[in-house]
């Protein structure tokens, strides 16, 4: 390992150092504000270490982690999502956790971010597994973090058991791939004729599809989204999905894992079914968390267009660029939606503000939050002037370039169905509450504490502004993504 390698690894090292500093700080002083401050300082320092890492040039360290502009683009997304989650989680934990310690949450948040960063760089099966497990283990504990109620524990247990099965399938697939190719590194030549290799790749893809909650591996998603505390749900929906997508795109491009026709067919079927089933099931829900869970199934289904395109050598740069732009948009809009939910949940006691009725009349009571949630919903639906439109436009372009017309048609149909339930969220917010005095009572009660959640509200509004600003002027994101995609592997 050379000095340049260490420079390339700077973001990871800063993040690990910050995690240890946070642990030390907790063991000396139990202070929630201090834990938040150390966490934010660490994450911001990590963010500033990213340009330094880029300056070291693209390199593969020990054949284990590839640090390049592609990985650092995703690292920036993960760190920004972690900053947003920490700020959103602060007031939530302050209100919800009174008996247990609150500070460990931030340690888990930092280790989860590290796991995601390792996955974005993985070029080796061992890095794949270790990164995934660092992320998943942290998430189990974060999902089960609240002290009261059975729902978080139940969600964490479901996630633990099912994700354990998926990891096992994946490991078995890796063993088969290793038996076929004799190498654990991603650049191993993949021969489509060997049955062992194809079976191995299929098992790995099944494990990945589980983590991405694609149909038919999606059963856990709504329950886990619903049971997890709102700020954690936002983190699960963005960082854990984003890390797997980053890894999957790199894996497909580097190994040519989709070299066999049956595998491509399988991915296409999974994509089409995810788009249609995700959107149809979302129509039936009255719970915002479940709506967003099914909508995320559909969104990752859309994103598989980029994965299929990545399988062809000529399409790889376009596929990577699409994946990066799409995920940047997806992160912004999903975090904004869960952010609004977190702000409302932090103010009310009891359950998270997840029932749609809780949002009735929000436009009259909290215009800024309602506007942000509307921007997020419109963006998820892919309406112009939002980042969601740019992201979806990229998918159309990618589908057209690869001539993947089945997938493009499924994307059109899925989006058309989706508009209904996204607009339903906005419609609910414009309704005046059924009973006039009930609405006033709800408004009057938390008014005293409301002033406190300013930092979470600021994050939410910033995310909402990001959706619109980058929707009108997406050039900065596109430029960075294009440069990273062109430089990939070169």
């Amino acid at each position: 390992m050379t000095g340049a390698d260490l420079q390339a690894l700077a973001p990871h090292l800063v993040l690990i150092g910050g995690t240890l500093a946070l642990l030390l700080a907790i063991s000396f002083v139990r202070s929630h504000v201090l834990a938040l401050a150390v966490t934010l300082a660490t994450l911001v320092a990590t963010l500033f270490a990213l340009p330094a890492s880029n300056a070291a040039g693209a390199r593969v360290i020990d054949g284990f982690l590839a640090i390049d502009a592609y990985a650092n683009f995703f690292n920036a997304l993960f760190v920004i999502a972690a900053i947003a989650s920490a700020l959103l989680g602060y007031r939530y934990l302050e209100r919800r956790i009174t008996l247990a310690h609150r500070e460990e949450f931030y340690v888990l948040l930092l280790t989860a971010t590290l796991g995601a960063m390792a996955m974005a760089s993985a070029t080796h099966f061992a890095a794949f597994v270790l990164g995934l497990e660092v992320l998943s283990i942290s998430l189990y504990a974060m999902i089960a973090y609240p002290e009261e109620g059975q729902a978080p524990l139940e969600a964490a247990l479901k996630y633990l058991v099912l994700s354990g099965v998926a990891s096992t399938t994946q490991l078995f697939g890796m063993a088969l791939a290793y038996a076929a190719t004799g190498s654990m590194a991603f650049e191993a030549a993949f021969s489509a004729s060997s049955l062992l290799a194809v079976a191995g790749q299929a098992m790995i893809l099944a494990g990945v599809a589980f983590k991405l909650s694609l149909v038919p591996f999606h059963m856990w998603t709504p329950d886990v989204y619903q049971g997890a505390p709102a700020p954690v749900t936002g983190f699960v929906a963005t960082v854990s999905k984003g890390a797997v997508v980053a890894l999957l795109l790199r894996y497909v491009v580097e190994t040519g894992a989709l070299g066999a026709a049956p595998l491509v067919l399988g991915v296409v079927i999974i994509a089409v079914v995810s788009m249609v089933v995700g959107n149809l099931l979302a129509l039936l829900q009255d719970n915002l968390k479940r709506i967003l869970a099914y909508s995320s199934i559909a969104h990752i289904g859309y994103l598989l267009i980029a994965v299929v395109l990545a399988a062809s050598i000529s399409g790889a740069p376009m596929a990577l660029e699409t994946g990066m732009v799409y995920l940047a948009g997806y992160f912004l809009m999903t975090l904004a939606a869960f952010g609004v939910m977190t702000v409302l949940s932090s103010e009310a006691g009891g359950e998270d503000a997840e029932r749609l009725e809780a949002y009735e009349g929000l436009f009259w009571q909290r215009p800024l939050l309602a506007a942000t949630l509307s921007a997020a919903a419109l963006s998820l639906a892919g309406i112009p002037l939002t980042i969601g439109f740019i992201a979806k436009f990229y998918l159309f372009a990618a589908g057209a370039e690869g001539e993947l017309w089945t997938l493009v048609w499924a994307l059109v149909i899925g989006s058309a169905i989706g508009v209904y339930y996204y607009l339903r969220i906005i419609f609910t917010m414009t309704k005046t509450p059924a009973a006039e005095d009930e609405g006033e009572a709800r408004e009057a009660a938390p008014a005293a504490e409301r002033a406190g959640a300013w930092e979470a509200a600021a994050v939410v509004v910033a995310l909402g502004a990001g959706i619109v600003v980058f929707g009108i002027y997406p050039t900065p994101i596109i430029d960075i993504a294009r440069a990273a995609a062109q430089a990939f592997g070169g």
């Binding site: 310690h101 888990l108 660092v134």
Partner: protein, 171 residues
């Protein structure tokens, strides 16, 4: 010859693993788990990795499973557990695991007596393992350290909840 030995050990591993999952009694399942791990250690030995085989026995069969056994047996202390412990120690329970372990033991004796390296390639000793761990796979070791840290912090937090629930039940 080696292939036959491999199939015997593999059959023992699968049979023991199937029994682990189907046993209703946690303590019995753990005993079968020890047998499965021993069988896997024999397979490692056959593949020319005596150090990995030794680690499998020392760490998995030795430390981790015995720790599990202690935890399972120490939970729910009280009069009920004494009768349960008597059930766990029913005579005859040990016969199955003993037979499978004897098969593995016979294999090991045979292997050591014949002492030919066979076509499995050169054996990989502790030094080679150490060099790989702290050379090529240094980053993997660091990542694994963070994995354990996350697991530790998570278990600590969830364990406190469990302890509090129990205290409330007691009072």
């Amino acid at each position: 010859m080696e292939l036959t030995l491999f199939y015997i050990a593999a059959a023992v591993a699968i049979a023991a693993a199937a029994l682990v999952v189907t046993r209703l009694n946690a303590a019995h399942a753990l005993v079968w788990l020890v047998v499965a791990l021993l069988a896997i250690a024999v397979i490692f030995f056959l593949l020319g990795a005596p150090f990995a085989a030794a680690l499998e026995i020392v760490i998995y069969a030795g430390a981790i499973v015995v720790l599990f056994l202690f935890v399972v047996m120490m939970l729910n202390l009280g009069r009920r557990s004494i009768t349960r412990e008597r059930l766990w120690l029913e005579p005859g329970m040990w016969i199955g695991p003993a037979i499978l372990t004897a098969i593995l033991f016979g294999e090991m004796i045979f292997l050591i007596a014949s002492s030919d390296t066979g076509d499995a390639g050169s054996p990989i000793g502790p030094k080679a393992v150490g060099e790989a761990l702290f050379g090529q796979y240094l980053l993997a070791v660091e990542l694994a350290a963070m994995l354990l840290l996350a697991a530790l912090v998570g278990a600590y937090h969830l364990g406190r909840r469990y302890l509090r629930d129990r205290r409330e039940e007691a009072s």
